[in-house]
Symmetry: C2
Subunit: 533 residues, 2 copies
């Protein structure tokens, strides 16, 4: 571990506190744009495949300087270099954190030989499945949960335009049988490939669903030999896989965290969907972002600045959530993916040494695709009592031919960030007609309801096109941003001890489902158990 | 409007403040259960189709008394009665709020005759479509957004087990063409019914998608006569519908808000999916909850107490979001539905008179189905720095036959609320083996990482089965809960002025997509426009 001061004990933190008190609270985006014609350019950043407009955030150049100084005083760059070098920065588990090695070119980076050996084999298998005329496969079912589900599911939806037309991809994750039941009902066993994705092959949900899938498969008149051809495992536990009759397996390593694993064999569904060329392009995009994060100076480093903005909003402005609004329907599962990436990584309340923190860490990340969100919760973003930073993602070129729809989607995207910033004064509202307002209401009251505080922050990302390469870069951007805020906060972003207790208690409760025994349970759990059995 | 004191000016609010300072901050769920064997029963509430365990919330009987007193002093019951009677409680738009009338039995409640006339006609049409052998329809596409999308989409997913096996339901909402394009690619025109759902038939997104769908339909060799048979409108604008060639229409009324409209003709996709019997059962369930809300004494009134708990967490405990965790995959779209219902209703910062509020209103509502959430963001719920109340929804009887999966899903549900409450002390963690912890780390540090603060609140709902009746009751429960907190906060939960500004700015930006004109725009919007064109 690298010894550094706790972020809130640094001089930069103190300076940021003072800056927020003196200038931050009074900062107004409208004034900032009016007084500085160069503001857009000053806060525009170019990273591989992603352009970012940071100018509609509640900061000025002094804020940025102080945040960069904070990163410096917290040793973010040293920590980043330690990660990239393969140091065991996941100290509580004694592991390196090397998802960046999964996308490094052949011969570059740590573990290159083993990474590319499995990658080559996995991609050859994927292309073989994609040759549907020969493989006979029309449906692929990925059974996995958390990191073994959200990445592949998000990426396959995002890259729909690149998916082989004859292939249907399905994702089963929830142990609730209402997840797998309707999927199985749509399948023909002899045309289906099941991927069982669990590093240890002990994940409760995944193994339970795998057993159900295997039994269903056999019930369709298929044999154990067929199981060996129609079930593959993404796992390092070859023995457990073999016990289920699964002999084709693809492994990965303990330096690949679940929420950072879509670049490994966990990405097999993506590889089948978009092919080896597409998958390699996705890795290339992520690698380009890795190089940017490693090499770009702090003043032009996008993931670094995004992570610092997250710290600014969380610990100084006082925001507890961030809304993500992708203006591309293909990115509809990105918010769910980011919930795991960000909240599982940085939802921690102790530092590296286990000392309790006295400042907030991960915000809640949430959202639905725009324009849908506009017709749901954007009311609150515009006129609610809390300031919630919004992240817009716009894609310049669509993969469909509906130019009218595309222009409308993008115009809506820009209009929302504009509206959040500009707002509308009561005076402005008074000067307008309000045909749908109750005619009996006095005009001033109507105008007050129709006014908007404005000065609400947002970031806009622009991608040229939602290609595999762009998606890879975008996801890597989020990874490094989460790394940055976690490094400032001085927490281990790569463990997840908080999932242990619920697992253990579930292990205790499950036998009680049969026995009905409520001994030792609290009154609520006992009462609910009695009602639910 | 009913004159009442602002909530923060009531004696009850002041008493709650003091109670929170004196007792609330020190309140501990573990102690509360240990010292009161009757706590579960004391905080258990039965409402139609929904049992609720409120005992794992951060309150005691004194808190509840004070909250009920707050409701009294804020005139919640009078306001509720005014809503049910059809008074124009949506004062800014001069409208009544009568979604409850949509589910009242024939002859009961306001507007009964017109409600049941359209309901009968709509359900007859739905059953006709469901007779797929005669109708020839295999695919139904609902084109609508916001309230014309989220309710039907959520309900059809929830009631999947009741959907006619030969029918495929599709939902297109986003103006982004990546939404409609893959749907159209899967359809055969002569077997498809399009529902165009927009009260005014002017909703930008819906009309743009309707035009695309109609053109696609004609491009498949269908005629204008076919359009009249394969497109229906849910709208009151018959003229605009006719201009699109749509002559079969089902209307509703200005006293039905978009986010409260799934009970009206907007529910047509639900009616087609589950049939008239199912739809009427859903209305019955909602009506039963309406009666409960209207008649049950405050001490046993579930929506009332839930709304008051929301106020407690938001304004006294200081929570800014609530996580919804349905342990039923069919409820996967419930959080998105609730985002609109709650955040669009109560995401307001002025009171009825337009005076700015000095207290928080709607929290952020978010979540994914359990057990998926456990493998994503539950880390943060257990070990993050913020307290986030969680709402578990458990369903006793599944609609599938996988008993093992079902027991596991429910055991996980109970284990999570138990874990949130119990937590784990560092001393407890020290006494346990931690096989996956780094062996070089000192045991105390490991134990600190593996400890949980606990005392984190949750509510658990239990449904016997996810039937149409139960779903109706559950959704009505949420509606009245949102009503309650909105009534306490003194805001209009039934308007949505906050969506206006973005729409207006989009209207200004759209022509600039062709012209490239950036005159009058702020630097950021101008810069982004140039990049995106």
């Amino acid at each position: 571990m690298i010894a550094t001061a706790r972020c809130d004990a640094t001089a930069a933190w103190q300076a940021l506190r003072e800056h927020h008190t003196n200038a931050g609270r009074a900062f107004d985006l409208r004034t900032a744009f009016a007084s500085d014609a160069g503001r857009f350019e000053a806060f525009a950043l170019e990273a591989p495949e992603v352009f970012a407009d940071l100018s509609k955030n509640l900061w000025d150049s002094r804020t940025r300087e102080l945040l960069l100084e904070l990163a410096h005083q917290c040793g973010v760059a040293r920590r980043r270099d330690a990660m990239l070098a393969g140091d065991p920065i996941n100290a509580t588990e004694g592991r390196a954190v090397l998802h960046t090695a999964l996308r490094a070119p052949r011969g570059a980076g740590p573990h290159s030989q083993e990474v590319h050996e499995i990658l080559d084999r996995m991609l050859a298998f994927a292309d073989q499945v994609r040759d549907t005329a020969t493989s006979g496969i029309t449906d692929v079912v990925n059974i996995g949960i958390g990191g073994s589900d959200l990445g592949p599911q998000m990426a396959v939806a995002a890259l729909q335009a690149h998916v082989h037309a004859g292939l249907h991809m399905h994702f089963v994750s929830n142990v609730d049988g209402h997840d797998i039941a309707p999927v199985l009902a749509r399948l023909q066993a002899r045309h289906t490939l099941f991927i069982i994705a669990s590093k240890t092959f002990t994940t409760q949900e995944t193994m339970a669903n795998a057993v159900v899938a295997r039994q269903w498969f056999l019930d369709q008149g298929m044999t154990a030999q067929d199981v060996a051809r129609h079930f593959v495992g993404v796992t390092t536990n070859l023995q457990a896989a073999a016990q289920l009759g699964v002999h084709t397996t693809f492994g990965f390593w303990d330096w690949v965290g679940g929420r950072y694993s879509m670049w490994s064999a966990i990405g097999l569904p993506i590889a089948i969907a978009v092919g080896s060329t597409g998958f390699r392009a996705m890795l290339d995009g992520a690698h380009a972002m890795d190089r940017h994060f490693a090499d770009a100076p702090a003043e032009r480093n996008l993931p670094l600045q995004l992570g610092l903005l997250d710290v600014w909003y969380r610990n100084f402005v006082g925001c507890s959530s961030r809304s993500v609004a992708p203006y591309h329907q293909g990115l509809r599962r990105l918010p769910a993916y980011l919930q795991q990436l960000e909240m599982e990584s940085n939802g921690k309340c102790v530092d590296h040494d286990g000392r309790p923190l006295t400042y907030g860490t991960s915000p809640v990340v949430w959202g639905e695709p725009g324009t849908n969100g506009q017709h749901a919760y954007f009311q609150m973003l515009h006129q609610g009592t809390d300031v919630i930073p919004v992240e817009f993602i716009a894609v310049r070129r669509p993969s469909h031919g509906y130019a009218d729809l595309h222009a409308k989607a993008l115009a809506n995207c820009l209009a929302q960030s504009q509206a959040l910033m500009l707002g509308k004064t009561t005076e402005q509202a008074l000067g307008e007609r309000a045909p749908t307002a109750a005619p009996t209401l006095d005009p001033l009251t109507v105008a007050r309801h129709r006014s908007f505080p404005g000065n609400r922050p947002s970031t806009t990302f622009v991608l040229q096109e939602l290609t595999p390469r762009a998606l890879g870069a975008l996801v890597a951007l989020y990874e490094h941003r989460v790394f940055t805020s976690g490094a400032v906060w001085g927490i281990n972003s790569f463990d997840q001890w908080g999932v242990e207790l619920g697992k253990a208690l579930c292990g205790d409760l499950l036998p009680r489902w049969d026995s009905g025994d409520t001994a030792g349970l609290d009154g609520s759990t006992a009462g609910l158990l009695a009602r639910l059995r």
